[in-house]
Symmetry: C2
Subunit: 249 residues, 2 copies
């Protein structure tokens, strides 16, 4: 037998769902997963029986509650989020701006928590959304603490630009990362949209490694950046301590 293995076919059905396609018909699934309608039907049936997918009254499939329950066990997903949430709430109360928690996956940041202020800047980032490391505050905070070889490869690669202010030059990025390590905080100005700024700080695990980053996004025009820095650093240290990290003496 040729083609993808049985596990890969089943995982292709799950991977057919993403932020732009959260609800799919059987035909959509079969096309997006590259499977025959017969195979897709059989696999969707198994996933639905198990609870990984749910079929609504109109016959459209959604990601199911059972998958969510198991995913909630992910130490880099909901488990981290649950430890961090009180500190993110405090940071939100102190700033009333958008607050985020993100982790690194390869060369991207993945947002695992996002508390939106009613009056906060209208940045459209969803839980589970991804951005390249160099273009966001959390990404800079994470990248600055990666292994040197990874940083060097990243700085030497293509750096996508989103606004005229995005860092797209490797030498500039290297300098910025050194500043982030020195200051213990990353400031990303107008890199994703022209009107927003983010202040981010690294979160450390019990072994001292940087495992996540926390940030606040504010409108660039009236940003009180110096005032935000201690609040963001404090939140990051609070989460780190809750994860078992102890500061060096």
């Amino acid at each position: 037998m040729t083609g993808p293995s049985a596990p890969d076919r089943l995982l292709a059905v799950l991977a057919a769902f993403d932020h732009d396609h959260p609800a799919l018909s059987l035909t959509d699934i079969s096309r997006r997963a590259g499977l025959s309608l017969t195979t897709a039907h059989r696999l969707v049936g198994a996933l639905s029986d198990w609870g990984a997918l749910e079929r609504d009254a109109s016959g459209i499939y959604h990601v199911g509650l059972r998958l969510w329950e198991i995913a909630a066990l992910s130490p880099r997903g909901l488990a981290l989020r649950q430890i961090a949430l009180p500190y993110l709430e405090d940071l939100y109360e102190a700033t009333h701006e958008n607050v985020q928690l993100a982790v690194r996956d390869g060369s991207e940041v993945v947002y695992i928590e996002w508390i939106s202020g009613r009056s906060a800047v209208g940045v459209k980032i969803q839980v589970g959304a991804r951005w390249p490391l160099h273009a966001t505050g959390v990404g800079l905070a994470l990248l600055a603490h990666c292994e040197a070889a990874f940083q060097e490869t990243y700085c030497g690669g293509h750096l996508a630009g989103f606004t005229p202010h995005t860092i797209t030059d490797g030498a500039t990025l290297r300098r910025v990362l050194a500043e982030v390590r020195h200051a213990g905080v990353a400031v990303s100005t107008r890199q994703i949209t022209d009107d927003a700024l983010s202040v981010a700080a690294p979160v450390r695990a019990a072994d001292g490694s940087v495992t996540a980053a926390v940030s606040v996004v504010v409108p660039e025009r009236d940003a009180q950046t110096p005032a935000l820095i201690p609040a963001v650093r404090l939140a990051a240290r609070g989460i780190s301590r809750a994860l078992g990290w102890q500061p060096e003496r």
Copy 2:
């Protein structure tokens, strides 16, 4: 070939992870999934390559970030939670007590959000945890709005007791459910632990169906139940409106 199908074997690997077993060795997975070590090794490899599982430095497997990203698309999981979170935060700010959001899965409630107050009662419920419908405030709010036939079957079945105060009698449960429908709010007193009380209200979707429930859990001894009721109802109505529900005129 006999035994479980290929999809079922892969899903059995995922189902080996639960709240009591969030981190497993390959041997643990093989035993808990009822698979040979060879089969488990192959399936765990496929799941790890894809990102559904992550292997740590000590060789132990955890649920991976990729699964979490896809699960975040679940309309009854994170998607609902993201819409509800600002209202849950407001309810927490107003009460400084444990605030929960839950949905029904069969005859159980599943908690999909939980904001814990620092000074709040020490009830141990985790995101993803399950309880039978009759024993919790959110469960009573959800059950009271199920189809009549489902309610009748539930009331006629075995009702597990957790404290001397748990409703374990079908006739009593029927009466309580009628009161919940009439009052628009459910009060569950000392049903799970002897020292806590919860006040819950139903959350409606755009089509008017009850899709979730929101609640506050407080210590029973100093509960200001009458004062909590309007706050919980207001939060539930706010979430319902955000879901597209419009009150009847």
